[in-house]
């Protein structure tokens, strides 16, 4: 079937995944495979005084054990890929050398014939520690007497970053209202369904090292692996097989990837490491964790004049690959939101603590920014006793098609913010709701509505701009379209899907452009020996940038095919049209050649235009001039149980504008999952450390992942404002739900409790927090001793 852009084509990848025919890292089994288990620090901060692996190596079935000292010459420091000015870069050894800095820090590894033996053996490695004082909070860590994690980073400050746009003093002089609020954006655990895992296989003959890794960035991983270990990039092959989710947590180079690779090389045998779930909670990056002091200023008529904040962003014990990017560029530059705010300021402190490293988690910086903006706008509206929708509308940037620059210096591409707001309101019936809310309150039922109008930054691409902001690598994307002699097509993309459905969306674009059956198109990804290079999949970039590269390749292929067709039909190029997969001579429909016929001719090469090379394929590198800026409006309705304080989400409306839509069904799936995660943050999820740095929410028994039972059916809508930054006009849609949802839900909770004077509740809005607010206001079930 030939499909079009905009069709809800069913996901090509699903049948194999749901019938158990996918190959994940743990499904990779090689002859002589060994299993690696990691000895991890049980302490958050300690000196290692002795490591003794002798008991472990004496266990039958154990092949070897290694400490940092054993592998020193091959284990460099793990690199940071995005460096804002002044970033401190203390060593990040893959295996701790003399100090451990968080619970889960890798200390030694054991390799055995079988996984259970490896685990047993890891338990019998003796490590003597001398405990050091611990700090887990980003504010506490900056106090003068706080324990220091790295000598290079006084006061534990990893980086300081600032943006100031507009004239704050002038805005402040005009302001009639100032609202200040401390806001906590709590720490989250990404919880991909598949934990991380690595299989490494070294061929001593070819000196080729193959790494299967559950990663979002096979090519960057290959490059960074080579940099860390000194093994030539040309002799490393990275394969990202099926990857069962990531949400940003597999966007880095991790210690285990380096260690497993080096150990396989050392032993000359294939080695597998599969992360356990509890291990994942400690050893895979966490997300968010901001403590923010924010201030919004404006006039009583609803005009917002300024917004500024100071952020203490917890980066954990070491800087993960993209850690400096998230609370700076992806956060501070986004603080204008959808509004004409005159002055904006943001000061960010990235702070080391004795906790698991923090990096991007779905939305990465933009949920933090949107939460801050949308919470502060509500606080402002509440302070001046105005309707939150009216205040938003009053300050909204008008529709624009040729760029709009905000005080933080970034240029939004295209937008129509009132369009998404209006559409969401149409779906909602705001007036009816306010009536119902009043009536419900009289019956003792607490209803609340929350709005979230967001704009985000997607399509991470403009390499030069990104480099000026700190990126250590180009962010373009590449693609090859290879037409086979019999007319079927292979699309090679440098993006690396892990649930997004690229095999469908990319095939759909190719089918539409080439006019051929989608079943004749294969999309290949995630193998550095197949794609020449690629940046990977993150930051809602794959369709905007990778899809752009695909479009360029398709155009090149079609141009060449057309030249061949014109030549063979004896007319000039300009006389040939491409219609429904056929090259047709203008005005003479019976003179035509099919796409497959041309493919054959291109390879048969018996009669090509003079000087033309045989074959039919094209490779493109696409590096757009700007990011893309999706936007939308989400509305949440909650009901609060007065007896228990429990919050129930009863309606959720999401209107997104992600530019042109490739596959509406896949888009809906992305918004559903994203919104569920944003709602999860608003109501349930939180990673909790004890003061001595133990992760109390160490498993799913204690860390609440959202589940379908607690979610309503989402009501989704769209407007379409294409971007001009790429050939598809698509902006990217991987994170909108997560970015929009948290403030909508928290604003709804506050709205439900406004009548008792509540103005803010920190996430997650647990039933106990709500009960305490009700209780303090004398509205809870009376307490009796």
């Amino acid at each position: 079937m030939v499909v079009q852009i905009g069709d809800s084509v069913r996901r090509i990848e699903d049948p194999r995944l749901i019938t158990g025919n996918g190959t994940y890292v743990d499904d990779v089994v090689l002859p002589g495979l060994l299993h690696l288990s990691i000895v991890r620090s049980p302490y958050a901060h300690a000196k290692i005084t002795r490591i003794d692996v002798s008991a472990a190596v004496n266990i039958p079935g154990v092949v070897a054990a290694f400490t940092a000292a054993d592998l020193a010459d091959q284990l460099g420091s793990l690199p940071v890929g995005w460096i804002v000015e002044g970033t401190k870069l203390p060593d990040h050894p893959p295996l701790a050398i003399d100090t451990v800095r968080y619970v889960g820090d890798a200390v030694a590894v054991v390799v055995a014939d079988d996984k259970a033996i490896a685990v047993d053996a890891a338990e019998s490695v003796t490590v003597d520690y001398e405990q050091l004082p611990v700090v887990v909070g980003s504010e506490e860590a900056q106090k003068p007497d706080a324990p220091q994690l790295h000598a290079e980073a006084p006061e534990n400050i990893a980086f300081e970053w600032e943006v100031n746009g507009g004239d704050w003093e002038a805005a402040a002089r005009e302001a009639e209202v100032v609202v200040k609020q401390k806001i906590i954006n709590q720490r989250l655990i990404p919880n991909a369904m598949e934990t991380r895992g690595v299989v490494a296989d070294y061929n001593p003959g070819s000196k080729q090292l193959t790494l299967w890794s559950s990663t979002q960035i096979p090519h960057l991983l290959r490059m960074l692996f080579s940099a860390v270990t000194g093994h030539p990039e040309s002799r490393v092959r990275v394969i990202a097989p099926e990857v069962g989710g990531a949400f940003g947590s597999k966007l880095y180079i991790y210690a285990e990837e380096v260690i497993t690779g080096i150990v396989a090389k050392q032993l000359g045998r294939p080695v597998k490491w599969i992360e356990g779930r509890q291990e994942n909670y400690q050893a895979t990056t966490h997300g968010r964790d901001h403590v923010t002091y924010a201030e919004i200023i404006g006039k009583r008529d609803g005009t917002i004049l300024g917004l500024r904040c100071t952020v203490h962003a917890n980066v954990g014990a070491y800087l993960s690959t993209f850690a400096p990017l998230i609370p700076t560029i992806y956060f501070g530059l986004m603080l204008a939101g959808q509004y004409k705010i005159r002055a904006i300021g943001c000061k960010t402190f990235g702070v080391f603590t004795n906790t698991t490293p923090v990096d991007a988690y779905r939305g990465a910086g933009r949920p933090e920014a949107t939460y801050l903006v949308e919470r502060m706008v509500d606080l402002f509206a509440q302070e001046i006793k105005r309707d939150p929708v009216a205040v938003r509308r009053k300050n909204m940037i008008g529709a624009f098609r040729r760029g709009h620059e905000v005080p933080t210096g970034v240029m939004y591409d295209t937008g129509n913010y009132k369009g998404t707001l209006n559409k969401a309101l149409e779906m909602f019936d705001y007036r009816g709701f306010r009536k119902e809310q009043r009536a419900a309150r009289r019956e003792g039922r607490l209803l609340g509505v929350g709005f979230s109008c967001y704009v985000e930054i997607s399509g991470a691409a403009p390499s030069a701009v990104a480099a000026s902001l700190g990126a250590g690598a180009g962010l373009w994307e590449s693609n090859t379209v290879r037409v086979h002699p019999t007319g079927s097509v292979t699309v090679y993309t440098g993006t690396s899907p892990h649930g997004q459905g690229h095999e469908t969306s990319f095939a759909q674009i190719a089918s539409a452009e080439l006019g051929i059956d989608i079943d004749n198109i294969e999309v290949l990804h995630g193998d550095t020996d197949r794609q020449q290079f690629g940046t990977g999949t993150f930051g809602s970039r794959s369709i905007a940038v990778g899809g752009g590269a695909l479009s360029l390749s398709l155009k090149k292929v079609l141009a060449k095919a057309k030249e061949i067709a014109a030549h063979q039909m004896g007319v000039s190029d300009s006389q040939v049209d491409f219609v429904n997969g056929n090259f047709v001579v203008e005005d003479i429909p019976e003179r035509s050649m099919g796409f497959a016929e041309i493919a054959w001719e291109a390879y048969h090469a018996k009669d090509l235009p003079h000087g033309m090379e045989p074959g039919l394929e094209a490779t493109s590198f696409f590096d757009p001039a700007n990011f893309t800026w999706p936007f939308g409006c989400h509305i949440a309705v909650v009901e609060i149980n007065q007896d228990t304080g429990d919050v129930k989400l009863i309606r959720y409306i999401g209107v997104d504008d992600v530019g042109n839509i490739i596959n509406p069904m896949i888009l809906a799936g992305m918004v559903h999952g994203g919104a569920a995660q944003g709602i999860g943050q608003a109501l349930w999820e939180t990673a909790v450390y004890s003061d001595d740095g133990q992760l109390i929410t160490g498993s799913m028994l204690d860390y609440a992942v959202p589940n379908a039972k607690n979610l309503p059916s989402f009501e989704l809508g769209h407007t379409v404002t294409p971007t001009r930054e790429n050939p598809l006009g698509a902006k990217g849609a991987g994170e909108t739900g997560t970015i929009a949802a948290s403030p909508a839900v928290v604003n709804a909770c506050v709205d439900a409790l406004k009548h008792i004077g509540v103005t803010h509740i920190d996430m997650p809005v647990t039933s106990e927090k709500v009960w305490r607010l009700l209780d303090a206001a004398g509205k809870a079930r009376p307490r009796r001793k």
């Binding site: 685990v119 047993d120 007896d643 228990t644 589940n707 809870a780 079930r781």
Partner: protein, 291 residues
């Protein structure tokens, strides 16, 4: 997350299971649904060297009811219990609680015998078992005994069961006319276990006053516990909203000093939830009793 090594047996008859358990005693463990035991083994908090899987013993699965009461085989799953017409009519609180355990996967494998033997402080069925005044039938190779609910739960994860005993059946007495039972739970958002769960059984007399009431609380302390003060307030009175409220306010009295305080709920909030759940459970039990 890998357990220690163990040997695995899957006997097809009760006698064979009992013989194996007697043979291995402290080294052996019965495994039913495995949903409490296997996680403990993976965390290496339990390391039995022998597992005796009683899942293949058909006779342990049956659910029957007659004039004398309800009998539920120890291997009956939460799912089977929640869907059983016999349970729904004879012991609605049991069906209600079983239907609220965790998620579908757990309900499809987890068993009543395992739940009671494990005696998780936040498990749902222990409260129902107490409130309904059930009896456990525990058998060894040599003989069998009955253990009343009130004597079964000893302490945190500790019951009156002996190492060689296997629970074969759980009996619930017939509650009689004008009786109603119900279970109300405030679930932990992560684990779905009870932060506070209350089961209530109420019997009304001809004049509409409460002739008997049994109320039990789970999730709040170290084990499921009868709320006797609550029961006493209810007895002999007409179960009006204000009487139920007054009685519910005493739901956690027996647990004073033993109320769990953790990241999911402070002790104070747990106590509060116990009262609310008691009120909800008693109110529906009274409704079901025809009050």
């Amino acid at each position: 997350m890998v357990s220690n090594n163990f040997e695995y047996f899957a006997p097809e008859t009760f006698d064979e299971a009992a013989r194996l358990l007697a043979k291995y005693r402290d080294d052996g463990k019965i495994v039913a649904g495995g949903y409490s035991l296997i996680p403990l083994m993976k965390l290496r908090l339990a390391s039995p060297s022998v597992l005796i899987d009683i899942g293949g013993i058909d006779e342990l699965r049956s659910i029957t009811s007659n004039g004398g009461g309800l009998s539920v085989g120890s291997m009956a799953t939460y799912y089977e219990i929640s869907r059983s017409a016999a349970v729904q009519s004879a012991a609605p609180a049991l069906a209600e609680a079983a239907g609220q355990v965790a998620d579908v996967q757990v309900r499809n494998r987890g068993t009543i015998g395992g739940s009671l033997a494990h005696s998780d402080p936040a498990g749902d069925l222990p409260a129902v078992f107490l409130a309904l005044g059930g009896t456990i039938v525990a058998k060894t190779r040599r003989g069998s005994r009955e253990i009343a609910a009130d004597r079964f739960f000893v302490d945190l994860l500790t019951t009156a069961l002996r190492p060689t005993e296997i629970i074969t059946e759980i009996r619930f007495p017939s509650a009689g006319a004008r009786s109603g039972s119900a279970y109300a739970k405030f679930a932990n958002k992560a684990s779905h276990y009870a932060v506070a769960g209350v089961a209530a059984l109420v019997t009304l007399g001809a004049d509409g006053t409460v002739t008997d009431a049994r109320v039990a609380v789970t999730g709040v302390g170290s084990k499921a516990t009868r709320a006797k003060r609550t029961e006493r307030i209810l007895k002999g009175k007409e179960p009006t909203a204000s009487v139920i409220r007054r009685a519910s306010d005493r739901a956690a009295v027996e647990l004073a000093g033993d109320v769990t305080d953790d990241i999911h709920a402070s002790a104070e909030y747990r106590e509060h939830l116990a009262k609310v759940m008691a009120e909800n459970a008693i109110t529906s039990a009274v409704e079901r009793a025809g009050g």
